[in-house]
């Protein structure tokens, strides 16, 4: 593949632009599902069934005035949102979408992915601190504390499929799931990954760093206008990113029945399988999010250290034996 072709794939399809659209769709689906579960209607105004509401919100927010706190660290405050956005946008390039191989792939994909997840949390913490608001600082403390809780089980849960596949690249892990998906071999890892993903995404019951009734908007409190639009988009994109990782690691990525000999037609089917799995994982997260109340930060960290981490370690041990 030429550099130009890779660039087009990475930026348009099945890369950034495609995933940003999916991110908007995810937000719409989340709002609609939550509304239906709660006996409400949800967005209806923009587009059919309100499907364009997240896009409308994004552009409305982007066109608004930006306020910068007096004591904010301007360098981080101004450039942070873009870097924050870059993390999931870059990570998604390594996830196979339209076929067994991703746009860019490397034998050590998974390590890079772990780095990106850590980077994303670091950027959130930096953004919170740079805005120098009291709510932001408390939220950052909570974010970092929560991070110490969920990162280790998340890494262990992500490493388990790699152990099963004997490969550290996403392509290798997906290829190893040709006969059966790793969710069958490592169901506990999948569950641990989903719980850790809820914490990473700050969704209930782990929306502690952005608990609006306690600390307003958490570490995002001081952001407004374009920066806030970016931060919100990034959170949705991370949502897609984590669901895509779960699909690639546990649900066989885009793999499924081969229905056509034609490579182009088959890649369409692969895309379809991928999207179905992606939305299934996303839907799990919406459902958990809607059905639970928020826990306190001490309760959350206790849960991660005493329940989720040992469980994921147990599954890793089982995986080592199975291998």
């Amino acid at each position: 593949m030429t550099t130009a072709a890779i660039l087009v794939e990475a930026l348009i399809f099945p890369g950034l632009t495609f995933f940003v659209c999916i991110a908007f769709l995810f937000e719409w689906l989340e709002r609609k599902t939550a509304a239906r579960m709660q006996g409400r209607i949800g967005p209806v105004v923009a587009g059919r069934f309100g499907i364009l509401q997240p896009v409308a919100d994004f552009f409305k927010l982007a066109s608004k005035e930006e306020m910068v706190p007096l004591y904010a660290d301007r360098l981080v405050f101004d450039f942070g949102p873009q870097l924050f956005f870059a993390a999931p946008a870059m990570g998604l390039v390594f996830v196979p979408v339209t076929g067994p191989s991703s746009i860019l792939s490397d034998p050590l994909d998974l390590l890079f992915m772990l780095f990106i997840l850590a980077f994303s949390a670091l950027m959130a913490a930096l953004l919170g601190y740079s805005s120098a608001g009291r709510y932001s600082i408390i939220a950052t403390g909570r974010l970092v504390l929560q991070y110490t809780g969920y990162e280790i089980p998340m890494i262990i849960a992500m490493v388990t499929p790699a152990v099963l596949a004997g490969s550290l690249s996403f392509d290798g892990i997906v290829a190893a799931q040709g006969t059966y998906w790793f969710i069958l071999l490592a169901p506990i890892s999948f569950a641990c990954f989903l719980v850790a993903a809820l914490a990473e995404l700050e969704k209930p019951p782990f929306d502690i760093p952005s608990a609006k009734t306690e600390i307003v908007a958490g570490w995002m409190t001081e952001f407004s206008g374009r920066a806030l639009a970016y931060v919100k988009l990034t959170k949705n994109l991370s949502y897609v990113f984590l669901s895509a990782i779960a699909v690639a690691l546990f649900l066989g990525g885009p793999l499924g029945p081969v229905l056509s000999g034609n490579a182009t037609v088959q890649s369409f089917f692969y895309l379809l399988y991928f999207l179905i799995k992606l939305f299934a994982v996303g839907f799990c997260i919406f459902a958990i999010r809607t059905a639970l109340a928020r826990v306190r930060i001490d309760q959350a960290t206790r849960l991660f250290w005493t329940v989720i981490t040992p469980l994921s370690l147990l599954q890793l041990g089982v995986a080592l034996i199975l291998r």
């Binding site: 939550a34 579960m37 709660q38 006996g39 409400r40 009291r134 709510y135 408390i138 403390g141 909570r142 209930p204 019951p205 929306d207 502690i208 608990a211 609006k212 009734t213 306690e214 600390i215 307003v216 809607t290 059905a291 639970l292 109340a293 928020r294 826990v295 306190r296 930060i297 001490d298 309760q299």
Partner: protein, 413 residues
């Protein structure tokens, strides 16, 4: 001189606050997503833990008591109703009762029953509203949405009886403005049956849902000793095991014939407050049905003179949040000379502050609103709390000093 230098009470409060570095003080309000109404709490934090709370009240002081002196006895019913958007009926009922106490006429029995029915419907709606908000404060939005949807049933019922959903404008001196509509009995029965089922469902839900329990069990616990010292009222008091209720102790409206069963609990935490309020809502459902069965025929109001005989009178009702007290002084004229009220939130706020100490920041919305605050009701007078040996108390002398300072500044018209 600054405002703080002028008042010894405020100076003490400020000195108490100054021993902490400003970075540790986190403002909670006056405008905050967790508060429905503006009120200011300065929280002194040590990490996530609260070590001191300084409430500052008065953000919704609207001068209603003064405004009442410029309105006729009947006009004031509609004015006092507007003190609160949730327990509006309790306010108008308490005021009317106080004024009626100065006159000699007997209130028709049917009117008493109708007043009881509306008051109990209001209690159901208020308790459901509060529980929905607990869901919201603990991040359990689904509970919030579900309960508020069920609350609509009560509001619709109230609307079909009185014509209004929030400010019922239903009480009048000597009775109620109009009779119950025809055929409302069946509708009340079906709605109450429905609500009883829903309340039972919610009771089961709140006592089994783990994430909600971790946020409420053992949180904001007060014991009887604290309760006796700080004198909270309503469910907050009953949650400590002191089963006191104005409806039973000093029956008004038709509570002498429709006797409520006063619920109480002994845990004194937010989880028990939730269950207690749900039990009270269920008891109110029973009372409404019971009152509907026993309601006598007859007139619902009398023709009464516009001038109220001279004299002083005080009366109280059990509002959804607790005891609501009204005092009225009449000079035998068209207008009242003075009307004074004490809302339950004012009695409860110091207890809520006590409940907050030592809790993590995450508990603030749940605890602060565990008392079901209604700042609009409370903000009639300025009470400043004084910090002495980490203990909250309002001393008589300081209150007197405060009064002197207050009037010196020309706050009184």
């Amino acid at each position: 001189m600054s405002e703080e230098e002028k008042s010894p009470v405020r100076r003490k409060a400020a000195a108490g606050l100054m021993q902490y570095s400003p970075e540790n003080i986190v403002p909670f309000g006056p405008v905050h997503p967790a508060l429905k109404e503006p009120e200011y709490f300065k929280l002194v934090l040590e990490g996530e833990r609260i070590i001191e709370v300084y409430p500052k009240i008065g953000y919704v002081h609207r001068g209603i008591e003064r405004a009442a002196q410029d309105r006729t006895w009947v006009q004031n019913i509609y004015l006092f109703e507007r003190i609160c958007g949730i327990c509006s009926f309790a306010h108008s009922l308490a005021y009317s009762q106080t004024v009626e106490g100065l006159s000699t006429f007997e209130i028709p029995r049917r009117a008493r029953y109708i007043r009881t029915i509306i008051a109990e419907l209001e209690r159901i709606h208020s308790h459901l509203l509060w529980l929905g908000l607990v869901g919201y404060w603990t991040g359990f939005d689904t509970l919030f949405m579900w309960i508020w949807k069920d609350r609509e049933h009560v509001l619709d019922l109230v609307e079909s009886i009185t014509g209004n959903r929030v400010h019922k404008s239903f009480v009048t001196l000597s009775g109620v403005r109009k009779d119950l509509p025809d055929g409302i009995g069946d509708r009340i029965r079906t709605e109450m049956n429905y609500l009883e089922k829903r309340v039972d469902f919610y009771k089961e839900l709140v006592s089994t849902e783990e994430t909600l329990l971790t946020r409420t069990k053992g949180v904001g616990r007060i014991n009887q000793e604290v309760a006796r010292r700080l004198c909270p009222v309503g469910p907050l008091l009953r949650s400590t095991g002191i089963a006191r209720d104005v409806r039973v102790e000093d029956p008004y409206a038709a509570y002498d014939e429709v006797v409520p069963d006063v619920k109480s609990s002994t845990d004194g935490d937010i989880a028990s407050l939730i269950v207690l309020r749900l039990e009270e809502a269920r008891e109110s459902c029973r009372l409404v049905t019971h009152a509907m069965e026993r309601i006598p025929q007859g007139p619902v109001r009398l023709t009464v003179p516009r001038i109220v005989p001279a004299g002083d009178n005080a009366s109280h009702v059990e509002a959804p949040r607790g005891e609501l007290i009204y005092f009225v002084r009449s000079g035998g004229k068209m207008l009242p000379e003075r009307v004074k009220m004490r809302a339950p939130t004012l009695a409860n706020i110091l207890t809520a502050v006590e409940m907050l100490k030592g809790r993590p920041l995450a508990d603030v919305p749940v605890v602060l609103t565990g008392m079901d605050p209604c700042f609009g009701c409370m903000d009639r007078i300025a009470v400043v709390d004084v910090n002495k040996q980490k203990e909250w108390a309002i001393r008589g002398e300081e209150l007197r000093q405060l009064g002197i300072q207050y009037y010196k500044k020309g706050n009184m018209q």
